[in-house]
């Protein structure tokens, strides 16, 4: 009985986490400009990752594996927002601005890599 | 039978595709950094070839658990483990060479390096050599 309960709980967490990861990835592709993409990827990624790790922890029970999963979760919780912050900071200081109305910012592939010139 | 062949050889085919993509990058691109990335792709394809050959169906990682189990072949793992670190050390050496070439020639495009060498050896025979600084 309790085994079934554990399975159900971890299944729910895993599916929920997977859905968040998928939404984030979809946003990464579909959103119109850089900062909205970052919003989609950064927030849902942290939540989705932690939910999936939680689901795995429920599955693993009290063991060394769970300790490692907690550590992974904790480090992701630090590093993931930090790198999102770092990228946003770099883009903003380089002069990239959010342009919700302007679709032309989506220059074709090759030319776009110069968009980060220092002003 | 056909499906078995497909699944049984798919790893090797992709390895060959990667190998050829790496080789093509090295041969056809003139930029030296790009050539080194191509070499890395080629190198990774060799790693995957070895590891694919070491895999045993139903096997598990070669770390003893106290229970009798089927283990994948540990020997390719040993060879490739050291090769990866050697690979990054030699990549660093290659990149150092690229940096020195940039210092000496002012460019990392193979064509321009070649043109500068020709000019030094044979004089300004090719005519328009402005780009070879």
């Amino acid at each position: 009985m309790s085994a079934l309960l554990i399975d159900a709980a971890s299944w729910a967490l895993l599916v929920l986490g997977s859905i968040f990861v998928l939404i984030g990835a979809l946003g990464l592709v579909r959103m119109p400009d850089f900062y909205t993409r970052m919003h989609a990827a950064g927030i849902t990624d942290t939540l989705g990752a932690d939910l999936i790790l939680l689901g795995l922890m429920v599955q693993a029970g009290f063991s060394l594996v769970t300790v490692k999963l907690v550590l992974i979760g904790a480090f992701l919780f630090f590093t993931s927002p930090t790198s999102t912050h770092a990228i946003a900071n770099a883009a903003y200081t380089a002069g990239l601005r959010a342009s919700p109305m302007d679709e032309e910012g989506d220059a074709p592939d090759e030319g776009g890599d110069s968009a980060g010139e220092r002003p | 039978m056909i499906a078995g062949d497909f699944l049984g050889l798919f790893n090797y085919w992709i390895v060959i595709v990667l190998m050829m993509l790496g080789l093509y990058t090295v041969v056809s691109r003139g930029n030296l950094v790009k050539k080194i990335v191509g070499l890395n792709i080629f190198q990774t394809s060799v790693f995957l070839l070895y590891i694919s050959m070491g895999k045993v169906t139903g096997g598990t990682a070669p770390i003893l658990t106290g229970k009798p189990e089927v283990f994948s072949n540990p020997l390719p793992h040993v060879l490739i483990l050291t090769a990866i670190v050697v690979g990054v050390a030699t990549t660093a050496l290659g990149l150092a060479l690229v940096v020195r070439i940039k210092n000496a020639y002012g460019t990392i495009e193979e064509d321009e390096v070649q043109a500068a060498d020709d000019e030094r050896e044979f004089g300004n025979t090719a005519g328009t050599r402005d780009e070879a600084r």
């Binding site: 630090f78 590093t79 | 062949d5 699944l7 050889l9 798919f10 090797y12 992709i14 060959i16 190998m19 050829m20 093509y24 990058t25 041969v27 056809s28 691109r29 003139g30 950094v33 790009k34 990335v37 191509g38 792709i41 990774t44 790693f47 995957l48 590891i51 050959m53 070491g54 895999k55 045993v56 169906t57 096997g59 770390i63 003893l64 994948s72 072949n73 540990p74 020997l75 390719p76 793992h77 040993v78 490739i80 483990l81 050291t82 090769a83 990866i84 670190v85 050697v86 990054v88 050390a89 030699t90 660093a92 050496l93 990149l95 150092a96 940096v99 940039k102 990392i108 495009e109 064509d111």
Partner: protein, 330 residues
Amino acid sequence: MTIANVIDIALLVFLGLTAFAILKLRALFAVVMLSSVFSLVSACLLVHLDAVDVAFTEAAVGAGISTVLMLATLALTARREKASTRTQALPLIVVFLTGLALVYGTLDMPRFGDPAAPIHHHVAPKYIHDTETEIGIPNIVTAVLASYRGFDTLGEVTVIFTAGIGVLLLLGAFIREPDGLKIQTMHHHLVLRVVTKVLIGPILLFALYVQAHGDYGPGGGFQAGVIFAAAFIIYALVFGLENARLALPGHAVRVLVACGVLLYGGVGIVSILFGENYLNYSVLGSTPVHGQHWGILLVEFGVGLTVSAVMVSTFYAFAGQNPPISDEDW
């Protein structure tokens, strides 16, 4: 088609797509990003193919060092590849024909995962069977790496040593010495500085864990050395190269490069002095198995020392170059 097949095929297709994208893109920065993703995918694939030790090494190398070295090279050379003027037809034909010949060759190969393949019947069964009694550690890969094939590994460490010397010979004369000028560091990036300070301790601790735990799980000197170097590289990136060199001076690192190889070779000499063959550790302890434990521990430490010192001094050599990229190439 089982889930294992699906994962295998999907990851392999990712690798192919990434390699193709690397070939197509001309912005070198994008190429560097793609090659870091290429390394991530191949680490996943290696885990899936049971090669956890190899995946660990790929992860340690690919997560930090190789991207940093590539970026450092771009910072000293150019950011864009120029359009090639040469003809592409001949390479394409050569590559296509070679690929075709190789595919024809695979038709005779043993199928993927076949336990009857010749590779599984020569020395591997001996290693798998005897490791527990002869070496006495659970990780067969470490046993083969450090003991059964200790000569090979000594050779590999020497190659790494030589490559490190080569980098220093090529770039060492151009390393900018501290000249008293005030330098810009990432002083105003408060978030980065705080998070880095929090993380450097755990990274170093994790490197020690990997070094010591290599006998029992995935890990060992090669992986630990790279992780150790990564901690110093991240310190140098955030707090400035000068401060990193104050903490770990360049000449001290150069001494450590040699010390690691010396330790490895020295263990071999000691076993000769005890009247055994070179790198036979059985005589180092009270019992042969105990001696193997000592030998593997020392040898792995030597490997870790050399690898981390080579990586750190390579980073110092690249990051300390003068001058940085010109405006024209930016």
